[in-house]
Amino acid sequence: MTDFRLRGFSRLQAAAQDPIGYARSWKARTGRPVIGSFPMNFPSELVHATGALPLIVQESRTPITEGRSLLPEFYCSYTRSVADQAAVGELDVFDAFVLADHCVQLLGAADVIRWAKPETPMHFAQFISSMDDPWSGAQVRDKVDALRVEVEEIVGVTVTPEVLGASIRLFNSNRRLLREFYDRRKSGALRISAGELQVLVKSSMVMDIEEHTSILNDMLDGLDVDSAAPASLVRLHLSGHFCAPPRVELLDLIEECGVLVVNDDLYHGTRYISTDVPETGDPFDALATWYLDRNVSAPCGTRVQRNVDWDSYLVASLEDSRADGVITLMAKFCEPLMLYYPELRRVLDDRGIPVLLIETEHEGLAAESVRTRVETFVERISRKKVAA
């Protein structure tokens, strides 16, 4: 068997663990600007087409200090962390910030950045969150243009359709490779932990996309089929976390409880890599199309779309991966998930699918308490399987 971990995984892990360090070294190496964006739907291809490094600002593991006096305690960990990073100078490596999403808490953090770094350009082109209105497409297209103008001005480069088209193909290719890891895990052909998969996806939000793709290709090259996972393991789907990655320790802990994670709808997972940008037609239109398509292929609880439901998508996904249950990971104070969760639970309950809610926080992990809850949950599923 060829161990994928021997083929560049450590480089991805280093970038995932220290995105700012990666950005600094990339900038020193290339002399080009780094532009920070925010989850959940920013089209990084647009920044890439200027020659700058698009980097989705990540939650830092550092305890929050200065940020405590800039945003209240009852904000989600991602926004408080971003505010803190801005206040302590961690974000100084960025030459500009661009946003596309309208999350009320994230906007608070963005204002903190503007306040802490007034000299750094920041642009907010709010993508409409109501996806199926007659004007939604035109609105998104308009905002893509606004973003284009802004990044062109920041970097001093005009984005041509040809160059953007090339960037789109690169990102699509990267997403396809990442999906390959997911597909192999789902089929049992690859034993890879949820934490390791998170490293693959998270590093793609941070690294130069060509470098990342090259490492992924190397990792997949010659990868043998693994032996199947023991049937005794309970197959689970991880759900939630729209912005920030759940802690790897938490994912490891879950898997230590006799669980095989077979799929997820996490932002640092399936959601991020779910949708490719169309490669034909006008590439600027394609970015707008991608945004609208994305909520169909992996619906998000932060969007509003009458003909698309996150819960029914989840049920279909569970059938596809043959998952026995769902663990929902809710970042504390995440209002979109708080709003949607009762619907999710109701649909899963109606279908007899066990679901466990775990609330996550920036600092600390109540490991033993979580372990007990997951073990009990797994036991419940195991008994149900035996009874069936």
């Binding site: 009320v104 709010q126 209105d133 609105q139 802004e150 609880g301 209002e335 979109p336 708080m338």
Partner: protein
Amino acid sequence: MTLELPPTRQSLDLSATKFITPEKPDKSNRLASTKAGGKMVAQYWENIFTAKERGKHVVWYNGTALNPIFQAAGLEWCHGEAFSARLAAMHLEGPAQAAGEEYGYIGELCSYARTHLGCAVMTQKGITEKQSGIVGMVDQDELAAKLPSPDFFVNAYAGCSTGQQWDAMTYRVFGKEFPLFNVSLPMIWGNKKDSGYLRGSEWEKTPLYVEEQLKKLIEFIEYQTKTPFDWDALSENMYYIKKASELRLEAMALCAAAPTPATYWDWVASIAPINFLPANQLLVDYFQGVKDEIEQRIRDNVSAVANERYRVYFDGIMNWNKLGFLTRKFAEYDVAVVAGRYTHDSFWQEPDLIDLDRPLLGMAQHYLICPINHGLKIMEELLLKRCDEYGIDGIAFHSTRTCRAMTNPQHILARTAERDRGIKSFFFEGDVADASFYKDESLESGLVAMLESIDQQRSKARV
């Protein structure tokens, strides 16, 4: 080994050693004219509760003040936040919140949303019990269960990403049976150097997009009601809104006088009329009455707070559970809360924008200047303007637990006020419609500390 303790000789009842606050006289002097508004609001809701029996179309809506459109279309309108606020102000929010909790809504979720979603759950229960669209008689004694079921929903939420999702969930609670229309209101973020309050390219362009959506909303309503929209009625409604708003602002401006003849709490009591009551002569008369009383107070040298010594600005959304309590509390410390972001930068606060020949544009502009729909730069501008207008000494920041939209910029606004005007501030905890988040100690200690700082500042200024 057991630890042997001597028998307790002292009584464990320590109440005698506690500091007992003597009954304090109420130093607040609220306007009498706002009582008329209370009656108008009560009548409005009583009317809503019978809408179905009268064969009216009912729209549930959240966010901004679309009611002049609904009124022109002959609808009955239920505003989600307004009903949640009413329940909280009457201390009747419990059943709705319990219903929401039972359904699965967590206590950290916007308390407006979870109260209203709880109402939706209760109303839906009434429908499934086949009570002709109105909650069953068993529940009639609970105000939270009295909302008539909607014929359709309209969402037009500015500045808060939760608003649109909240209605998307209400839509689901009702089994996706009723149509839903979304008006998307983009943030006025202030991207460009020319941006500011009511100026800049972002400001020029965005209302036109919203105006187009409002036209589509009217088409949607026409489709739902099968009735042509009455454009003349809309212009007429906006005439009354404009007139009422002008009177309201004139009356507010009179409160720049020191001591102030009316306080923020009087303006809070006047929110419902300007925010969702029918636009008509009664509305104009109400604000004329408020203005008349304020003018009379100025002539008679009557102040809203006995012995006004401090003038404070209130930032944060209203704590509806504590309206009367907070009125008395601040007055107890000789504090006149003169103005606030919630009252003074909302609710048709720029009547000059209303053009009766093109009412939708002015409406769109107002929806976009909701005080939670700006970036920090504009909010700083507005805060300093209000502080200057009203001679503000200090700011009370209501750290509104479940309203992230209102709390977003507060810490930086506090720094801005101190840096640019030397204005002191303090934070206290609370919430819009969930009394459990209010911390009296937090208010008391913060307020006292701020007032001491103001005293010190004044002493230094005298030296």
